[in-house]
């Protein structure tokens, strides 16, 4: 049983606890003595649990989605990489200054087909978190991603990108090494990259740091992932001078996968196992794998020039405005 991600999971945890207790031999015996049919009771509680879970998880508020997207037990990129690909050989370095471990990348096989993978990687224990800078890439990370993207282009392999970051690093080193330039260059080069690119937001799609590896022919988002121009806390601090109003800001920013789809900024929202990806990481990986195969399969027969042209057109359509008659 997963420990509680959020307050609203209290009810669910209680129900789950009750069911487990009822199933224990001791309780079973007690219940039998009282003339209660345990199986009927368990079935009833199971049904109730299902109902409560469906009700909760299909109606998560934007702020609950933020918590879900950042949840510590949520599968990270390497968890998916290990289950989705037949092989994965990690490659390192930007060939300029360093090897930013906030971004992992390498060669992999998807259903037998060679692909190049880049991924933003968060971490669970403190030591690894520091090593990976909490998944917040410096310039070196974006340059490593670009280097691997160019490798994919050169050898005509599709590129798969996993997004999961609170944002790019914003410290002195990031500024000194030109993190802005690295992101900007990635946006430009990914836009014109002559190989198919599929991107999936698996958790947090935090601002420019996410977009720096997210320009693609197909962008997918997991059901409870988020994608936002600014963190809800940052937005609240600017708007209401109160970082604590993240929930209101999350609402206002409409940062859910469902909204991104509604604004035609992404292609598909991938359903998560009931209760979130962390409750069944393997099922989630299977869904994701099938989606990657499907989208890459659809791109495969197209001429590369056609792919690049439609990628450009797709980016040109982003946004909404009114054109007044003069």
């Amino acid at each position: 049983m997963a420990d509680n991600a959020f307050d609203f999971e209290q009810v669910i945890a209680e129900l789950e606890g009750l069911i487990i207790q009822l199933r224990s031999p001791q309780r079973r015996a007690e219940a039998r003595d009282q003339g209660i049919d345990v199986d009927v009771e368990v079935a009833r509680l199971d049904a109730e649990l299902q109902r409560v879970m469906v009700q909760h998880y299909t109606n998560l508020s934007p702020w609950e989605k933020v918590q879900m997207a950042r949840y510590k037990d949520r599968p990270y990129a390497l968890d998916y990489i290990r289950s989705i690909f037949d092989e994965f050989m990690e490659l390192s370095g930007d060939r300029m200054a360093g090897n930013d471990e906030a971004v992992v990348g390498g060669l992999a096989r998807l259903d037998g087909e060679p692909v190049v993978v880049i991924a933003q990687q968060k971490a669970r224990d403190l030591k690894e978190r520091q090593r990976r800078n909490f998944g917040m890439a410096h310039a070196e990370g974006f340059r490593k991603a670009l280097r691997l993207a160019k490798l994919a282009e050169k050898f005509h392999k599709p590129l798969i990108s996993f997004v999961d970051t609170a944002g790019a690093a914003a410290d002195l080193k990031a500024e000194e090494h030109g993190v802005s330039e690295a992101i900007a260059r990635n946006l430009r080069e990914f836009a014109l990259l002559e190989t198919p690119v599929v991107c999936v937001v698996i958790g947090e799609g935090g601002s420019g740091g996410a977009l720096g590896v997210a320009v693609a022919d197909r962008v997918l988002m997991l059901e409870h992932s988020i994608y936002s121009v600014i963190s809800p806390e940052g937005c609240a601090a600017i708007l209401w001078h109160d970082k604590a109003k993240g929930a209101e800001a999350a609402e206002a920013l409409q940062l859910t996968a469902q909204n991104a789809k509604r604004f035609s900024l992404i292609d598909e929202v991938l359903p998560e196992p009931l209760g979130g990806a962390h409750r069944n990481p393997l099922e989630m990986a299977e869904t994701l794998k099938a989606a990657l195969i499907k989208h890459l399969g659809a791109l495969k027969p197209l001429e590369i020039q056609e792919i690049v042209e439609s990628r450009y057109k797709r980016m040109r359509c982003y946004g909404t405005w009114e054109e007044r008659q003069a």
Partner: protein, 301 residues
């Protein structure tokens, strides 16, 4: 959004209390009183400390391009409120009332010393110069026009970043403008960026970092995250010039820092370097035969 000055802010408030409006003003850099007329004459650069005050897009155009040469494009693009975001409509209305620009960027064609170009000027006075759908679209169209007509594109940036009131749609303008800059790049059309105070966030991390040449005004705030954010995260252990034009020059992100009064001349000579040589006069054809070689003349000449 970033703070305005980085030195002498307390002092100037005290000095300027009794100055009648319009006659004189206090310098945002050194806090001293400057006569409005002197400030205008010096292109809003403080005659005492050299501080470059912000300009509106119109002021910038006036001191940059040839007189009467500017023809605005896409002024009819108007922002919507796709997220029904708190106070966005009011903020847009207020910006429209107070700003001399119709949006946070003004784009068009113009000439500098007779040389044609496409120019875009961001206006920090319009919602902090923030980039929403309209700003992104105007910039992308300007770049595409530059590519089509093969004339250089100059962008003056001034922005706190992406416009959060349009949410993810704003973030995507970073991708849109960078993709258009990519077309310009591959097309071999010169693209020059001038970073002005302030250029931060998603604007610096997109089209403003992609010029073939990048100039900056002295002392402008230029950086990724706002200075306040950076300062907090580092416990104040930052160089004095952190996130300024000078810092970016020092770290290889900027080609030159150009004072305002020299900017027009600098742009003019930069552009002249990239002028395509006049096409050589077509060689007289040896034969006037209507050639039967299918490898030549696919356009049917």
């Amino acid at each position: 959004m970033t703070g305005r000055g980085w030195f002498g802010r307390q002092r100037r408030d005290r000095v300027a209390e009794n100055v009648p409006e319009g006659f004189a003003t206090k310098c945002a850099g050194c806090g001293q009183i400057i006569f409005a007329r002197d400030l205008e004459r010096s292109l809003k650069v403080c005659p005492k400390c050299g501080y470059h005050h912000r300009l509106t897009a119109i002021e910038r155009l006036e001191i940059t391009v040839d007189e009467d040469s500017f023809e605005e494009m896409d002024a009819n693009l108007v922002s919507r409120d796709p997220l029904d975001f708190p106070d966005y409509k009011d903020k847009l209305a207020r910006a429209n009332d107070t700003s001399t620009s119709s949006e946070a960027v003004v784009t068009g064609r113009a000439t500098i010393e007779g040389r044609p170009l496409i120019i875009g000027v961001a206006d920090f006075g319009f919602m902090g110069g923030s980039m929403g759908s309209v700003v992104g679209e105007k910039i992308a169209r300007a770049m595409e026009r530059g590519l089509r007509e093969r004339v250089p594109v100059i962008m003056f940036s001034a922005s706190g970043g992406a416009r959060m009131q349009e949410g993810l749609l704003s973030l995507m303008q970073m991708a849109k403008t960078s993709a258009a800059a990519g077309k310009l790049d591959r097309g071999g059309v010169p693209y020059v960026v001038v970073l002005t105070d302030p250029t931060t966030g998603g604007v610096y991390a997109s089209y403003a970092c992609l010029g073939d040449l990048i100039l900056a005004e002295p002392g402008a705030i230029v950086g990724f995250a706002g200075r306040r954010v950076g300062n907090q995260e580092l416990g104040g252990r930052l160089p004095d010039n952190f996130q300024t034009s000078e810092f970016q020059l020092e770290h290889g992100m900027v080609d030159r820092i150009v004072p305002r009064k020299e900017m027009r001349a600098a742009l003019s000579s930069l552009i002249s370097f990239f002028e395509e040589p006049p096409a050589p006069a077509p060689k007289p054809r040896r034969s006037t035969r209507k050639s039967g070689n299918p490898a030549e003349g696919v356009d049917g000449g």
